[in-house]
Amino acid sequence: MLIGTELQRAVQDGQEAPGQEARAATRVAELDRRLGDPTDDGNELSYTRLLEADEAGELSEPGERALDELGLGADFVPRAEGGRLERLDTLVRIMRQVFRRDVALGLGYGVTSFMAAVNIWTSGDAAQRACLARILTGGGKVSVAYHELAHGNDFVRNEFEARPAEGGGYLLNGAKQVINNAQRADAWVLFSRTSPAPGSRSHSVLFVERDGLDTDTWQVLPRYDTVGVRGCLLSGLRFDDTPVPASALVGEPGKGVETALRAFQITRSALPGMAVGTTDTALRTVVRFALGRQLYRKSVMDIPHARGTLSGAFVDLLTCDSLSLAATRAVHLLPEQTSVFAAATKYLVPKVLTDAMHELSIVLGARFYIRDGEHGIFQKHLRDMPVLSLGHAGSAACQATIIPQLSRLARRSWFSDEPAPAQLFQPRTDLPDLSYGRLTLASGRDGLSATLVAAVDQLPGASPEERAVQGLALQLVDELRQVQEASRALAPEDRTALARPAAFALADRYAVLLAAASAIGVRQQASHDGGDAFLADPAWLAAALHRLARRLGRRPADLPASVDARVHEEVLRRFHARTSYDLYDTPPAG
């Protein structure tokens, strides 16, 4: 691992051009340095100042200025288009620096533009890609305008219309609601009905630049007030026979649903892991509280329940990061398989992170209800977090992506597919370019769960922690067997969006198993060739699998006491060293 001066020396010596990992580490450090120490009240991007902006319903102005100066827009633009985007796992790592300080800034400055942009990277033509790259590298914003309140995630029913106009081009009619940055974006990606016929071939994606539109025919709708991410500029757009040129069409006419579903595979893989940074801050805030506060003549940290909650939250962060890592790297390595991994990630990661924060709030006690001061950031993060389960694909919509694939996976993949390649689980190794063209809506393949199945065939080591891991893995494989049987037995009517709750529960169990497989893969890879020593230790994995098994309703045997001791020690070490609570253990840039 190259960090700090070591990295600079390597670069200065010019021994070799910096590789992907060096570029990623440099960029993460750049953001951290520029955004500064959030606990320092002298910093204009401190938690205190970010809370003030939130109370005022504004995006932090110094925050936006800092991200402008950092040129963050270029991180959403592929290198081939002149930007900095080369790997999705790296983008997640970079955005964590923003998300650990302020979810609203992460979404409002950047992620909205990224969500819009992937439609163009996956399906746009050269002129559209160049135009978008110019906007984003120049610090501009792009809105993704899919949503119509009346139809929610059932966007095949969307009514917003782009009617072919006489003499070419389209006429836009209708409204889009709850659209981030609608008012200030330089361009919008509009999901539009281009045919009145029902079905999935009646919509198209349009990339519309704001400049040059007939201003009399469109308007920005009033802003929404929200529970969380209060700084985000959520409003809407209304068009009334607004002409746009034929060149606005992205991809083929009528292929909008497919374009959207491909783009979703990228955004659903990448977004949830960014919020690992948010829960990292929540955990850090509560560790500080627990170490400082005295109750019953002990520090809160000495109370077993509190200590166990903190360890549990840390382990959940590692689990979420493992699934996020596998899903984002799968887009590069196993693009044919990513539709289920992405949906599982978008479904499970925000849920586990939110649950962890609720558990942490119990340790924080009454302080979690206080809106300012030393712990005030906690309640803001807790309010902001649910937006990740709502925005652009609700939890149930993600389950509905998995449900039609369950029976095919059960018949064709589980217990017979090849395990995923080792690189899927290596946080710092190089990846091939994104291959958008290989993303498919369903493949019936799943190498990730095969990693879980293969793991139990390996002889466990002699330590109690390794034997605990083995016992838990066996239970999880048994769970996969049950999910397989139940999936095979799903009646056709339970393989639709209107499936019974039992089918949704199957998608939930499967997502948990994919998370377990990811954690197993991460630990396996770390234990080879000088990987991270903590990740190579079976203790965290035993704790992670134990929590996942309990999430599945199982009652696994108690873990050896050494597991919690090891995890607890790491919680404290990272708190004092101020390194990140994720797979990267990133030190502060200083």
Binding site: D154, V156, A197, P198, G199, S200, R201, V257, E258, A400, T401, I403, P404, Q405, S407, R408, R411, T440, L441, A442, G444, A491, P492, E493, R495, T496, A497, L498
Partner: protein, 95 residues
Amino acid sequence: MPVPTTGHTTESLTTWLAERIALYLKRQPAEIDPDVPLAEYGLDSVAALSLCGDIEDDFDLVIEPTAAWDYPTVHALAGHLVEELAAEAAKDGGA
């Protein structure tokens, strides 16, 4: 083993599709007009993807997951499947 691929006709596939789609829609097969777009019966995009998975399983034929979007009626889909099955049989025969 899959059913032999040569024995399928547009008629037999139409019958199979109507029966299968009726299950998705909780209707009787006779209620499914083979020339009416399936979306008009309320067959959602998720069910359309599931249907393509069923076709793969029952006919051992790999088709685009979006086939039911591109061939939106029972007749259109049956016609498409006959062509795909014939192409598959020709490929197997030539191998």
